[in-house]
Amino acid sequence: MSTEIDLLQVAAFNAAYARTIDNDALEQWPAFFAPDCHYRITNVENEREGLPAGIVWADSRDMLEDRIAALREANIYERQRYRHLLGMPVLEAAEGGQAKATTPFMVARIMHTGETAVFATGEYRDRFVRQDGRLLLAERVAVCDSTVTDTLLALPL
């Protein structure tokens, strides 16, 4: 079996990733990342200008676990869910067990009040690696199309 990462693997990975968040299995979300990883949520204008900050900025899987722990135990926010719709990935490079891909996303936020709205659209800019046979994210930058976040961002994108 080839060790190269292919389109179908990335698409399946993304489907599982989205389902994990949307089904409120947030404790499993960090496991989609390599221990030494980068995750950031930013917007197109920051990316265009090369500004490095994110509204979420992590450089380890432990930081992602801390974020979920904070969401579960410390932070106060109204009950809400997401529904991710992910487009087909564009595989930009894949060799040596690594791959670069981009995938468009659209995320609806469903509040406990029933209010449903498009919360974020954008593109994941990803770097995948294979570690111990598993596909993992070495980097995921969620680049939102809009610079505006409504109210607050609690759940990850």
């Binding site: 920051n46 500004l51 490095p52 900050a53 994110g54 900025w57 930081m63 904070a70 135990e73 109210t151």
Partner: protein, 418 residues
């Protein structure tokens, strides 16, 4: 100046301890605020000097609801003018930022120099002797309204008022010193984010000034002992009441039982970070202050939380909606390691911030909670009825200060507040 009839909002005393909910829901309030506060004798934060690096650099922003162009001219001086063509009122500049030698309205190509003067009217003399503007039309008499500009420590403020005091007098010596403390050397923008708040702008400004809520609503802070009421610190309110500084210093020796005694929700010994590098900062101020939140009336915030620096611009968007613009900063001479610390600590603030995400929602909780209660009032009496500086942080003095300044600007006769 044109005056509208004072609103029939009834303030109950003593001081500014009862805040009429009508101020957050009455549809007549925003227009009066625009005239008396945002276009009145205040300095509106517009942008950073660092965001106008060279001649022709401009940004579009707002003074309250009024769209504004801020631009550096060929001489290096900063100008600001309404982003409104003198002809039909269309926006002159459409982009958020850019570089220009002059501006031209897209609608009928009227053009402006970098100082905001009307310099060109398309077909002013007509076409083939037909049409054109009357000979009496004088371009100098037309143009978007200009703002006075003041800069302080790299912050650019604008005012429509001829009566507003000079910026240093407006801020007062204590606020000036606390701005200088943070903005003592050149800064760089490291990111910009906007948060749409589902509430009246004043609810967010009150939240910024409210040191009482910080360790009660924001559990992250409390759990990691970044901000306990018993820590050393205090609140500074300037003479007008409109500006404030809330600060604290971490004191590892002061582990207290205040919270446990009161059985409050915001203590949780179980919660520990797996990656403590989030909070592993470096000392960059020699005064031991790890948190300083500073506000300037009406809608500016300068924040230092450990090594996380940001300015926030609060813009009203109608009675029940507010735009909060975050600009994250580093110093221009940061080492890569220092910059990484700032990026990591930026997780604490912003729309997804561990210690600020709740602030995006609580204003909305109030806005929704007070529907149907326009004749009733909020109670703002923590720490008594004064609006001055105080040692402890279990006080709402700076919130009362905001209302003292607000009533002064709005011409709503002030209470007994000191």
């Amino acid at each position: 100046m044109q005056q509208t009839t004072p609103q029939p909002i009834h303030w109950k005393g003593p001081g500014n301890t009862r805040i009429p909910y009508a101020l957050y829901v009455d549809p007549d309030v925003p227009a009066q605020e625009q005239e008396r506060v945002f276009r009145g004798a205040v300095w509106n934060y517009l942008c950073l000097e660092a965001e106008l690096p060279e001649p022709g650099s401009y940004r579009t922003t707002f003074a309250g609801e009024t769209p504004v162009v801020v631009v550096r001219d060929g001489e290096g001086d900063i100008y600001a003018f309404e982003n409104r063509c003198a002809h039909r009122g269309a926006l002159i500049a459409l982009e958020k930022s850019g570089k220009a030698e002059s501006f031209q309205c897209v609608y009928h190509a009227w053009s402006y120099n970098l100082q905001g003067d009307l310099t060109g009217v398309a077909f002013e003399k007509g076409v083939k002797g037909q049409g054109g503007m009357p000979a009496s039309f004088c371009k100098e008499e037309h143009g978007p309204r200009k703002l006075r500009i003041a800069t302080f420590c790299g912050l650019v403020f604008g005012s429509f008022s001829d009566d507003v005091p000079d910026i240093e007098d407006y801020l007062g010596p204590e606020i000036c010193a606390r701005i200088e403390r943070v903005l003592h050397k050149p800064v760089e923008v490291i990111g910009r984010f906007t948060q749409a708040l589902p509430n009246n702008w004043k609810l967010y400004v009150e939240n910024v000034k409210d040191s009482y809520h910080a360790s009660l609503l924001h559990m992250f802070f409390t759990t990691f002992e970044l901000n306990r009421l018993s820590q050393k610190g205090g609140v500074i309110v300037d003479e007008t009441g409109g500006h404030h500084v809330s600060y604290s210093m971490i004191d590892p020796a002061a582990k207290d039982d205040t919270y446990k005694d009161q059985a409050l929700r915001s203590d949780n010994d179980r919660y520990r970070l797996k990656d403590p590098s989030l909070l592993a900062g470096f000392t960059e101020y020699d005064d031991g202050i790890t948190l300083q939140i500073l506000s300037v009336f009406p809608g500016f915030v300068l924040q230092q939380i450990q090594n996380c620096l940001a300015v926030r611009q609060v813009l009203p968007k109608g009675i029940d909606s507010t735009e909060l613009n975050w600009t994250y900063l580093g110093y221009a001479d940061d080492t890569p390691a220092q910059r990484t610390v700032r990026l990591k600590q930026s997780n604490l603030v912003g729309p997804a911030g561990f210690i600020s995400m709740e602030d995006g929602a609580v204003g909305g909780f109030v806005q929704r909670g007070i529907a149907g209660a326009a004749s009733l009032d909020a109670v703002v009496e923590m720490g008594g009825d004064h609006a001055g500086s105080s040692e402890g942080r279990a006080t709402e003095a700076s919130v009362r200060g905001f209302w003292k300044a607000y009533r002064q600007h709005m011409g709503q006769n002030t209470g007994d507040a000191a």
